[in-house]
């Protein structure tokens, strides 16, 4: 009888006791030769088993079960949310979606390239910036009431064309030009109220008018001279209002000591009266004409 054999018999009797298959007495009767060694161990095992045979409180059991199952449900929900797609899905199930994605991406790429090319063409185009030059066409749309400036500009353009063509300037035209220039001078009573663009345009138009009238005056004689003088005075008045009094031409500047044969020419501060006083010729001034 070795130790291993006793270990086997003890274990067999312990298992029968713990599993409730046999009592201590029944095991001892099965192994009468080992009774002396078996009995104290089996009795001790019986007491130990009885001491550990504790039943958990039912409330703890139920509470634990509810928490356990709730935790299982939570994990199952989370697993559904975060679990990867099953590997068994065939590629062709994704093919339509992939094809649509490729088409959409291609269309977007084409559209983007087109827009970029259009932008490139726009960037290549030359952009010309032209200065603003008020003209009758720009400032006087058909049917609208012309401002004095617009009328002067329009008439100066006509006068310029006439001078360039070498045509005769009618007295009536000159009277209209004088009237328009007078109105323009009135509209410039307070130059601070006039916009800079309009001031510049007015300076340009009056200067041009004055220059053209001088040219006409040089080429004219007889009865229209006094009308020219009036138009020149009106243009000069406009330039004075704008602070742009025209510079006298050196050759035409009438000196107080000028000889009686000097050519009549308006001075920078020329006024009809002053011009008449400086002019030995019988050309009448507007005041004299009146």
């Amino acid at each position: 009888m070795g130790r291993a054999e006793f270990e086997e018999i003890l274990e067999e009797c312990l298992s029968a006791l713990l599993e409730g298959r046999r009592s201590v007495e029944e095991s001892l009767s099965l192994y009468p030769a080992w009774r002396g060694r078996l009995e104290p161990l089996l009795r001790a095992a019986e007491e130990i088993a009885a001491g550990f045979d504790q039943t958990p409180p039912s409330r703890a059991r139920e509470r634990g079960l509810q928490r356990f199952l709730e935790a299982a449900r939570t994990r199952r929900r989370l697993r559904k949310i975060f679990s990867p797609q099953p590997a068994g899905i065939s590629w062709w199930r994704w093919a339509p979606a992939g094809l649509v994605a490729v088409i959409v991406i291609g269309a977007l790429a084409f559209l983007s390239a087109s827009l970029m090319a259009e932008d490139g063409r726009r960037l290549d185009e030359e952009v010309s910036i032209r200065p603003y030059i008020p003209t009758p066409e720009h400032t006087a749309p058909p049917g609208s009431v012309q401002s004095p400036l617009e009328r002067v500009q329009e008439q100066v353009a006509v006068l310029e064309e006439a001078v360039r063509q070498g045509e005769m300037v009618e007295v009536g035209f000159l009277e209209e030009l004088e009237e328009a220039s007078g109105e323009l001078a009135e509209s410039l009573e307070d130059p601070g109220e006039v916009e800079l663009v309009d001031r510049m345009a007015a300076v340009s138009a009056a200067s041009k008018e004055y220059e053209l009238l001088q040219t006409v005056q040089e080429q004219s004689s007889g009865f229209e001279a006094w009308v020219l003088e009036a138009s020149l005075a009106a243009a000069e008045n406009v330039l004075e209002k704008l602070g742009a009094t025209p510079e006298p031409e050196p050759t035409a500047s009438p000196e107080p000591t000028a000889s009686p044969t000097a050519t009549p020419s308006p001075s920078p501060s020329l006024t009809p009266t002053a011009g008449a006083e400086a002019t030995p010729t019988p050309s009448p001034t507007p005041a004299q004409a009146e």
Partner: protein, 193 residues
């Protein structure tokens, strides 16, 4: 204290539980909860700790059951490894907090009459006091065999030891406990040793 199903029944239920079957999980819980509770009570000595720790063990099982492999160990052995780890963790925490685990006056007892209730409480207290003097391996074998109801084979797998080794450890542990219980004062009339 042994499970009420055979090997095939256990395997079917465990497999269903691994697949997330709620009724299978509930069945596993009902069958193993008392055994896990007794094992932890035998190791910790405090019924309140045993209740809380048993709940925690089942939550750990829930997290790990998908990784359970039949070829490695019986399910019960696998489960009581988790319970053992939970006990070790709890003891480590209590050690860090400087808390001992004295035997509780509120040790649970079976629903018996007042006299038997007192006897059971005293019996468990005495066994627990005696078991505290055992080496860890002997105490673990006694807890697995007598409290958890594992077989020698299952205990061996749970402890990663040979069955012969477990039998020897078990023999020594019972003999030592017998000696300690014999030395106790006879406070009640059921001294059978």
């Amino acid at each position: 204290m042994s499970p009420s199903w055979d090997g095939q029944g256990e395997r079917a239920i465990v497999d269903a539980a691994r697949a997330g079957d709620e009724s299978a999980l509930a069945e596993l819980y009902k069958l193993y909860f008392p055994r896990v509770y007794r094992y932890i009570l035998a190791r910790m000595g405090n019924p309140y700790d045993a209740e809380d720790l048993t709940e925690e063990v089942f939550l750990r099982i829930l997290d790990a059951i998908e990784r359970f492999q039949w070829r490695e160990a019986p399910f019960s052995a696998w489960l009581f490894r988790i319970a053992h780890n939970a006990v070790v963790s709890q003891r480590r925490k209590e050690g860090a907090r400087g808390r001992s685990s004295p035997l509780s006056e509120a040790l649970p007892v079976k629903s018996q009459g007042p006299e038997e209730l007192v006897e059971n409480r005293l019996a468990l207290n005495e066994i627990m006091r005696a078991a505290e003097t055992l080496p860890e391996a002997q105490r673990r074998v006694i807890s697995l065999r007598f409290a958890a109801g594992l077989s020698v084979a299952e205990t061996a797998r749970a402890m990663s030891k040979g069955e012969g080794n477990v039998k020897v450890i078990q023999h020594k542990a019972i003999a030592k406990l017998r000696e300690m219980l014999r030395q106790r004062p006879k406070v009640y009339g059921k001294g059978r040793v």
